[in-house]
């Protein structure tokens, strides 16, 4: 049974039928999927969710899909890791990593949103899907479309990392590189959607696509033992995921599935592309678009479509924002890998670096529960880590040569201990 009631304008509340629509005809505000929560009461419960598949579709009652899912059957339900080593390093009591670097099939949170968007594309009768992408979305659209038997067009900025390009091409989509940044690509995709009538997942299917991001929030709550973390730090690119995690938390609160512990939301951006964080810091409702200049290309969106709503949610929840320089991003990637064995891409490094700043500033208390949302995998962007590590020693296959290395390691450790003692 579907509990979807309509599409509703986030600004004026005008209602529209379920159709491929992005904006309200009256004020051009974005439309969002609305549900009948009263009808869900007593039917959508912890038990009903726990009885579902171990994928995003266990939250199907809270997603805008009417038919039996055929896409994303293994997407979602990624680990929520209690990061005790990292917590000790940062001096905080309770720290979790929601790790979408392991998401299936393309190792980023985008597999959630694309699965929902492609199901909707199938329901609407589209045979061609596409996206404007900084890489991760292209991978996901290409992979899911391959499985679903849909034609895929992926449009990417011309200067993406090599790993991100091959990660799409392997699924045989039609790929077009656009000279310009993500915002230029996105603008072209709007025109393509209008002219060719294709389902561009983050353009004309955006209201459905974004709903998939709620599953990241649902999972955090469920995996935390049906509780909400008091502080959630989320990367901001186009601004999809942060407001949708918030929506997920609020839906669970509305349905009585979790207690309202007044969770706070925090935005993380790279210093080289931080229109939303700047607006939060300046206490402005509006952000000024920027030209991105950062190693965190997957979140380098200078004019985020839902940036306004990120600011709104952050403010409403009592959270804040922080941005991280390229070197801070690299350091955070290394820290997460060293302490928790998780290799994230620069977007994840940005989120952790921002969380560290917010903790150091005292905006996030050290004795309350914190969740850091990691949305992508570092193996896709190994270029950014080149030159970051000392070269590994090369030896002949002789134990005596290996012994020398072990002795050197011991000497360095002893010297470090002696220095620390001084």
């Amino acid at each position: 049974m579907s509990y979807v009631s309509c599409l509703r304008c986030k600004e004026c509340g005008a209602e529209y039928p379920i159709e491929p629509r992005t904006v309200c005809d009256h004020d051009f505000g974005p439309v969002e999927v609305a549900y009948d929560y009263e009808a869900m009461r007593g039917k959508v419960t912890r038990q009903s969710i726990e009885a579902g598949p171990r994928s995003i579709w266990r939250y199907r009652d809270l997603l805008p899909v009417a038919s039996e899912p055929r896409v994303g059957l293994n997407s979602g339900y990624t680990p929520l890791i209690k990061a005790d080593n990292l917590a000790a390093e940062l001096g905080v009591r309770e720290l979790y990593i929601k790790d979408d670097s392991t998401n299936y099939p393309t190792f980023s949170y985008k597999d959630r949103v694309v699965a929902v968007a492609l199901m909707k594309a199938i329901e609407f009768g589209f045979d061609t899907v596409g996206c404007a992408s900084t890489g991760n979305l292209a991978h996901s659209v290409a992979a899911h479309a391959a499985k679903a038997g849909l034609t895929a067009f992926v449009m990417i900025p011309h200067d993406l990392e090599e790993g991100k390009i091959i990660g799409s091409q392997v699924f045989s989509p039609r790929m077009v590189k656009i000279r310009g940044n993500y915002d230029d690509v996105n603008r072209l995709c709007s025109q393509i959607a209008d002219k060719y009538g294709w389902a561009i997942v983050n353009v004309n299917l955006r209201p459905y696509y974004t709903e998939g991001a709620k599953t990241h929030g649902f999972e955090i709550a469920e995996q935390l033992g049906w509780k909400l973390p008091q502080h959630t730090v989320v990367p901001v690119a186009g601004g999809t995921i942060l407001p949708k995690i918030w929506k997920a938390y609020q839906e669970f609160i509305t349905l009585g599935i979790v207690e309202d512990n007044k969770p706070k939301m925090y935005a993380a951006q790279a210093a080289g592309c931080n229109p939303v964080v700047t607006a939060i810091e300046e206490n402005s409702d509006l952000f000024r678009p920027q030209k991105p200049q950062t190693i965190a290309k997957s979140i380098a969106i200078g004019n985020p479509a839902d940036g306004y709503y990120v600011i709104k949610v952050v403010r409403e929840s009592g959270g804040y924002g922080a941005s991280a320089t390229d070197s801070e991003i690299i350091d955070a990637i290394k820290l997460l890998a060293r302490t928790e064995g998780i290799f994230t891409e620069p977007a994840g490094g940005t989120t952790l670096a921002a969380a560290i700043k917010l903790i150091q500033q005292g905006r996030i208390p050290r004795d309350e529960s914190i969740c850091v949302c990691i949305t992508g995998n570092g193996l896709k962007t190994i270029e950014v880590m080149h030159g970051q590590f000392a070269a590994a020693p090369v030896i002949n296959a002789k134990l005596s040569e290996f012994d020398v290395i072990v002795d050197e390691i011991k000497e360095k450790a002893a010297a470090a201990t002696a220095t620390a003692g001084v």
Binding site: E11, Y16, E19, P20, R21, T22, V23, D25, H26, D27, F28, G29, F124, G125, F126, R187, S190, Q191, A193, D194, Y196, G197, W198, A199, V203, N204, R206, S284, D285, L286, F287, R288, P289, N303, A305
Partner: protein, 84 residues
């Protein structure tokens, strides 16, 4: 020339939020009708959702003129769309 409509987001920055850019545009292109659907103006930035109506070429010229005046013009992503 065919009649058409165009939905746009206009962003005013760098002092342009304090200039009557739309008035200037309408003086130069009086047959282009502009209908402000939503607006928010703050100290450093102003954003406006505007529906333009008129002959296609004239709307195009009017939008180019706004860009010359320093206004950032972005198309609003499509309204409803039929599968195809």
């Amino acid at each position: 020339m065919s009649e058409t409509t165009r939905k746009c987001w206009l962003t005013f920055e760098g002092g342009h939020q304090n200039e009557p850019c739309l008035w200037k545009m309408s003086r130069r292109y009086p047959d282009v009708v502009f209908d402000i659907r939503q607006a928010s103006v703050q100290k450093d930035i102003g954003i406006m959702a505007v529906l333009f109506s008129g002959k296609e070429e004239e709307i195009e010229a009017a939008l180019k003129y706004l860009i010359e005046l320093g206004v950032k013009v972005d198309p609003v992503e499509g309204g409803s769309l039929v599968a195809g």
